[in-house]
């Protein structure tokens, strides 16, 4: 009997709940830090970005209207699925090089915990940011946070923890997103997409593109149907370009952090508030 051939995974994009190849047909070689070949990943084009925005827009009404309880449950479910694939993620992260098995395991654990942490926030953020405002008249005046819409995310460098830490706060409040994964470490991002696809997360809520952020991000920043952009993973030059483009339709912009972020630390709620806007309603007080 001949020796069995290994069946290798084709790493594709994640758009609208499906895993298409890049419209452009392009791919690029992903290597470990030592230069060893790991896989070919899809190199997304601007048209993939456009399709991803369309998918995110389509998913927005359903996801933003889902109850906070339901969104929390789904984030928790993502954490469960991620936990179930712990070994696979550890293997992918260590294959990248530069990280030992123990450290990789800690990163995956932290990513699972981060999802659970944000899942808990889904029905509490409204209580923290909302308010009943005193007004000079016989009215109830109530403010509550609402999701902005479609958010483009330039994911930070690194395989998994940073990625989860930027996606979870955007979607837990009801936004949908288009994520440009770290160019050097796209493989765990696509494996995370497989986790998302099996977690009851509606298709299109999270769309993941792999390829060059410098190529794709400006198109997302200039897109008139994108409501916010998180530039955490953008280098300073790209961040300036994107922020200028984002001004045209007054996108909410989260600038890249001034100092390197310790993703293991308590994140606080700033990443959630960046893409929330406050709605205030007046209602007459009855008898």
């Amino acid at each position: 009997m001949s020796e069995r051939l290994a069946v290798n995974k084709t790493y594709k994009l994640f758009i609208g709940g499906a895993f298409p190849r890049s419209e452009s047909g392009r791919s690029y070689v992903v290597t470990s830090s030592k230069g060893d070949f790991l896989a070919n990943a899809a190199r997304a084009s601007r048209k993939d970005a456009r399709d991803a925005v369309a998918a995110a827009r389509k998913a927005f009404p359903g996801w933003s209207r889902a109850t906070a309880y339901n969104r929390g449950q789904i984030l928790y479910r993502i954490a469960e699925m991620l936990e179930g694939r712990r070994a696979q993620f550890v293997a992918e992260i260590t294959a990248m090089g530069g990280v030992g098995v123990k450290q990789a395991g800690e990163m995956v654990d932290a990513a699972v915990d981060r999802l659970v942490w944000y899942a808990g926030w889904s029905d509490k953020i409204g209580a923290v940011l909302g308010s009943a405002n005193p007004v000079a008249g016989p009215y109830f005046n109530l403010s509550s946070p609402e999701p902005s819409g479609v958010v483009a995310v330039v994911a930070p460098q690194g395989p998994l923890l940073g990625l989860v830490s930027v996606i979870a706060p955007v979607i837990v409040t009801g936004n949908t997103c288009v994520v440009v994964a770290c160019e050097r470490a796209p493989l765990p991002a696509i494996t995370l997409a497989e986790v998302l696809a099996t977690s009851d997360l509606p298709g299109g809520v999270v769309n993941i593109l792999t390829g060059s952020a410098a190529e794709i991000a400006p198109w997302l920043a200039g897109h008139m149907d994108v409501n916010g952009i998180d530039l955490t993973g953008a280098d300073p030059e790209l961040a300036v370009t994107c922020e200028e483009l984002a001004a045209e339709n007054l996108k909410r912009v989260l600038r890249p952090p001034a100092a390197p972020v310790n993703w293991l630390a308590d994140p606080g709620i700033e990443r959630m508030t960046a893409f929330l806007e406050t709605k205030t309603v007046w209602h007459p007080i009855g008898v």
Binding site: W219, G222, H223, M224, D225, E248, N249
Partner: protein
């Protein structure tokens, strides 16, 4: 052809013999040809030209039970000036409404050059007596409609009663007077491409100025292969009689990409002579916004968003 076209409708048997004597459509071939033409790449300046051509060919349509005079007026304003921020966008070809709203549309479009089309003959099912259908057509024409979109009696057609369908089209054409008559074949209910070819010829012999794929109320509505078969029919009819008939796919055309595929199909099947709003129309509502968004993308270099265009 053994029988001159003028005489084929002299009896049920000659009409039947003529329609069934038309060559059959190679279904696989038609599908493959339409799919192949759909892969043509139309970019940059050609795309710009195609978008403006397509905008000028749109029959901006609203055929809902919930249509109000206010909605018709809003749609007419959009028909004349599709993008309020950009005067270089051409107006659409026509608006298409139910007969009772024709007068509102005529008033709103006075002097603009945009035509008013009205559906008639018990749209969309066509299930009524000939008297009612003719009366409805006359009323729509009297109200000012310059184009009438009639539906054929699919029940009679499928039962093989071609002469009844023929006579209804002739009677409606007569009631139209100077108004253009578009005959809706409702290809989604005709089952085969052979039937589409027969219905196309039947409508053209009976005097149709346009043949139209669908009402938009039945799925599938317009498809590329069905439009291909109809374009072949108008081309062959032109060759046989010298009379030029237009084609209007309607329903399900929502994106610029789809619209451009239809333009390619027209150019490659009937020929460039048909690439004009007088001979080819696109029945659509949401398509117009996508055309405008693509047009803006080409002008500004950034992807456009639906928030910046009117809803209709």
């Amino acid at each position: 052809m053994t029988t001159p076209l003028a005489e084929v409708a002299s009896s049920p048997s000659t009409l039947r013999a003529f329609l069934h004597g038309l060559p059959g459509v190679d279904r696989v071939g038609a599908d493959a040809r339409a799919a192949m033409l759909g892969t043509r790449s139309i970019k940059t300046t050609a795309k710009k030209q195609a978008i403006d051509l397509a905008i000028g060919m749109v029959d901006l349509t609203t055929l809902e039970g919930a249509d109000t005079p206010g909605k018709i007026r809003a749609m007419c304003a959009k028909a004349v000036r599709p993008d309020p921020a950009d005067a270089s966008v051409p107006p659409v070809a026509a608006v298409c409404v139910y007969p009772d709203l024709v007068a509102t549309a005529v008033e709103a479009l006075a002097g603009s050059g945009v035509k008013v089309a009205s559906v008639a003959t018990s749209f969309p099912s066509g299930r009524s007596s000939l008297e009612v259908k003719v009366a409805e057509t006359s009323l729509a024409v009297a109200a000012g409609a310059s184009e009438i979109d009639m539906v054929i009696d699919r029940g009679a057609f499928l039962a093989g009663d071609y002469l009844k369908v023929y006579e209804e089209i002739v009677a409606t054409k007569h009631a139209c007077a100077d108004a253009h008559l578009k005959v809706i074949l409702e290809t989604g209910e005709l089952a085969t491409y052979d039937n589409v070819r027969r219905a196309s010829w039947l409508a053209m012999i009976a005097g149709a100025d346009f043949i139209k794929t669908s009402t938009g109320k039945v799925s599938p509505a317009a498809t590329l292969p069905v439009t291909l078969v109809m374009l072949e029919a108008v081309r062959d009819f032109m060759a046989a009689t010298g009379r030029k008939v237009g084609v209007k796919p309607a329903g399900g055309i929502r994106t610029t990409k789809d619209a451009i595929k239809y333009l390619v199909l027209v150019n490659e099947t009937a020929g460039p002579d048909w690439l004009h709003a007088d001979w080819f129309r696109l029945g659509a509502s949401s398509l117009l916004n996508d055309l405008l968004m693509q047009r803006q993308k080409m002008a500004t270099g950034r992807y456009a968003g639906p928030d910046y265009f009117t809803l209709d």
